[in-house]
């Protein structure tokens, strides 16, 4: 198998205006009574893409997945798969398969018959079924468990059976609903990478629904952050993290410090914002803003330096404060710094050295500072 890196780096069909989306969600709305679960949503997903729908519960991500599977019909709008409209096509005639959050393994059947279920339903010859089931069992490393019933398996093994069953029919698209939600942390992390490898190996399009941002960041080529039935931002994990397009995304993904203020000058690729915390931020940004407009500035904790000395850039991109809280996490330390105006910000620093001389302590007077390209401007 080719190393993932080289494939991944060159894989960006969404950036190519000539590429044809494999799944096109066009202005889809889904209402349950008065409740709008999915609100005029449009999305393109490309062949072989690992696409994540990320959002809090009730944001409409599962409803969208169920519409792709055919368990729900859009109230309006259209979903196109591989050039064909899915309107009115029942789940059992769609070339997609789903891995359910509960796994939905048939408790009265062995692992083997669970995997063979869809193949039998399609009337595949017995010998071919046996061969395919064998192949799927090897793929998920469960060949020794073929004759077991689901209740005789561990959570991780059940997850693999569910995966094998949903892949057995070689669907064009695999839909995964919180695929790792029921696993413990360690197993989840291992399985994330296994899923990625599998997706590359099989060359399938994966659409995964998750509320776990770390999971989405690890696995997905692109993430759609959803809220209230709408897509807030669709981008690659680094873009989502480093260049969130809104307060919501900045706040939803990872830790962030947001400074509110007024634009004091803008142009030539930089924006200056006078923050309410009493210092001015200069950011590299091409946002079309005019002086006097309200704006926010978002910067991640790991991009903030904390030190005793007044940084060279002060008074730009620097502020005085005192250490309010220290959280030692082993690989890094998180500082909560209380600024002069009372705002508490988070800053984290990597513990690259084993025993630091004279570490920062509680109540110490410190300066925080960051670079011009450390954060992003958020328009209000």
């Amino acid at each position: 198998m080719k190393s993932l890196g080289s494939i991944r780096r060159s894989f960006s069909p969404w950036a190519d205006p000539n590429s044809v989306p494999f799944i096109a969600v066009k202005n889809v709305t889904k209402k349950f009574g008065d409740f709008v679960a999915v609100d005029d949503l449009s999305l393109n997903i490309y062949p072989r893409e690992f696409f994540a729908l990320l959002g809090a519960s009730g944001c409409g991500k599962s409803t969208l997945l169920r519409m792709l599977a055919g368990f729900e019909q859009p109230t309006s709008g259209e979903i196109i798969l591989d050039g064909q409209s899915l309107a009115g096509i029942p789940p059992y005639r769609r070339p997609v398969n789903m891995m359910f959050q509960s796994y939905a393994l048939f408790p009265h059947m062995t692992v083997e018959s669970n995997i063979a279920f869809g193949l039998k339903q399609d009337g595949m010859p017995k010998a071919d079924i046996a061969k395919r089931v064998d192949q799927m069992l090897k793929l998920v490393k469960l060949d020794k468990f073929a004759k077991r019933k689901p209740h005789q398996l561990s959570g991780g093994q059940r997850q693999r059976v569910a995966l094998a069953r949903s892949l057995a029919k070689r669907p064009k698209v695999l839909l995964l609903d919180e695929p790792l939600g029921a696993l413990d942390k360690k197993l989840r992390e291992e399985t994330q990478f296994e899923l990625m490898d599998l997706q590359q190996e099989l060359g399938l399009t994966f659409v995964v629904v998750t509320h776990d941002q770390e999971e989405a960041m690890t696995m997905a080529d692109r993430i759609a952050v959803m809220a209230h039935g709408k897509v807030v931002q669709v981008a690659t994990p680094p873009e989502i993290y480093e260049a969130p397009n809104s307060r919501f995304v900045a706040d939803f993904i990872g830790d962030v410090n947001i400074f509110d203020g007024t634009v004091s000058s803008a142009g030539n690729g930089t924006v200056e914002i006078a923050t309410q915390s009493g210092f001015t931020v200069r950011v590299a940004s091409t946002e079309p803003l005019t002086a006097g407009a309200k704006a926010g500035f978002a910067v991640r904790p790991e991009k903030i330096r904390v030190g005793r000395d007044r940084p060279a850039c002060a008074p730009l991109n620097a502020a005085e404060g005192e250490i309010w809280d220290i959280g030692y996490l082993g690989d890094m330390t998180v500082f909560h710094v209380k600024l002069k105006d009372g705002k508490v910000i988070k800053a984290s620093s990597l513990n690259a050295v084993r025993a630091m001389e004279d570490p920062l302590g509680y109540d110490q007077e410190v300066w925080i500072s960051f670079d011009e390209n450390a954060g992003v401007v958020l328009k209000d």
């Binding site: 029942p90 789940p91 398969n97 789903m98 359910f100 939905a104 048939f106 009265h108 279920f117 339903q121």
Partner: protein
């Protein structure tokens, strides 16, 4: 001390069901067997030998020696009994099947109903029990008789031009049993359907099953424990049913419950009726034991 107390409590708790079975099933059962081995007599009680504490161990052994299986041999000699057993099992089987045909859709509908109305539906299933069983069976006479409600309805609708004879036929018995035992079939099936994960049928459809195929390949097999429990709850009492065939059935309807009643009350032959009851129990228990054995085997094979 507390630990000892709770251990004692645990034992006592287990004793209760065993004691219940011992006093209200096992001991009466042995009394029935013991009577079935006696011979009928014009006496009080109407059989011999009668145990008497005063006669001591010697008398006890003498009495045991008088036991005979003559009554059981008698049952095989008169074709009446074999016929009665056969037709009881047949009527019970047909009624159980008909009950299943009606109860399954009812239970399925209940399980699919919104959560808010399920308690109401459950209540409606149980509601008939609030009226006396006898009154309800008598009501069926009024419905089924030639000039009854059912025939009048059909006549008015013009479906038939002369009344159907239903009362005093086997069909009336089927109707009576199905009606009376329906809740016993609905409830276990409902409980097995109700706890089923809805995503299982979705998974079946996702893998290519039409909704009907998904039902037969997933829902129905998974509801089998409920179906089996329901069938037993209907079949077993239906085999020995006396009231329904007596009130709704015809004079030619032969059911073992009726035969037993005749032997006991009309002929006052306690030993033969005890033998009839014992054989009835065997007819019911042996297949159930085979069935449970097969299930236990199937379960352990999966491991």
């Amino acid at each position: 001390m507390a630990k000892f107390g709770s251990a004692l409590f645990n034992r006592l708790v287990i004793i209760i069901p065993y004691a219940w079975l011992l006093f209200f099933f096992l001991i009466p059962f042995f009394i029935v067997i013991r009577i079935s081995l006696s011979e009928t007599a014009v006496a009080m009680p109407p059989y011999l030998p009668v145990f008497d504490l005063a006669s001591g161990i010697g008398g006890f052994i003498d009495n045991i020696k008088q036991f005979s299986i003559a009554n059981y041999i008698w049952l095989t000699e008169d074709a009446l009994y074999a016929k009665a057993y056969g037709s009881s099992v047949w009527i019970a089987a047909v009624s159980t099947f008909l009950t299943l045909l009606i109860a399954y859709p009812v239970a399925y509908g209940m399980a699919q109903a919104p959560n808010t109305i399920r308690p109401t539906l459950l209540m409606l299933v149980i509601l008939p029990f609030w009226t006396s069983f006898l009154i309800r069976v008598y009501a069926w006479i009024a419905i089924l008789k030639p000039e009854g409600l059912f025939n009048q309805l059909l006549l008015t609708l013009g479906v038939i031009d002369q009344p159907l004879i239903i009362l005093n036929t086997n069909w009336a018995i089927y109707i009576g049993i199905v009606y009376s035992y329906l809740p016993f079939m609905v409830l276990p099936i409902y409980s097995s359907l109700e706890k089923m994960d809805h995503s299982l049928t979705e998974a079946a459809q996702d893998l290519g099953c039409t909704p009907i195929m998904a039902f037969w390949r997933v829902t129905f097999p998974l509801s089998m424990p409920g179906v089996v429990a329901g069938c037993m709850l209907v079949f077993i009492p239906a085999v020995g049913e006396f009231v329904i065939p007596d009130l709704l059935g015809g004079s030619e309807t032969l059911m073992i419950g009726k035969t037993l009643w005749n032997e006991f009350n009309a002929n006052r032959d306690w030993p033969v009726s005890a033998a009839v009851a014992t054989i009835l129990l065997l007819i019911l228990v042996v297949p159930i034991m085979f069935f449970q054995h097969a299930q236990a085997k199937a379960d352990s094979e999966g491991r």
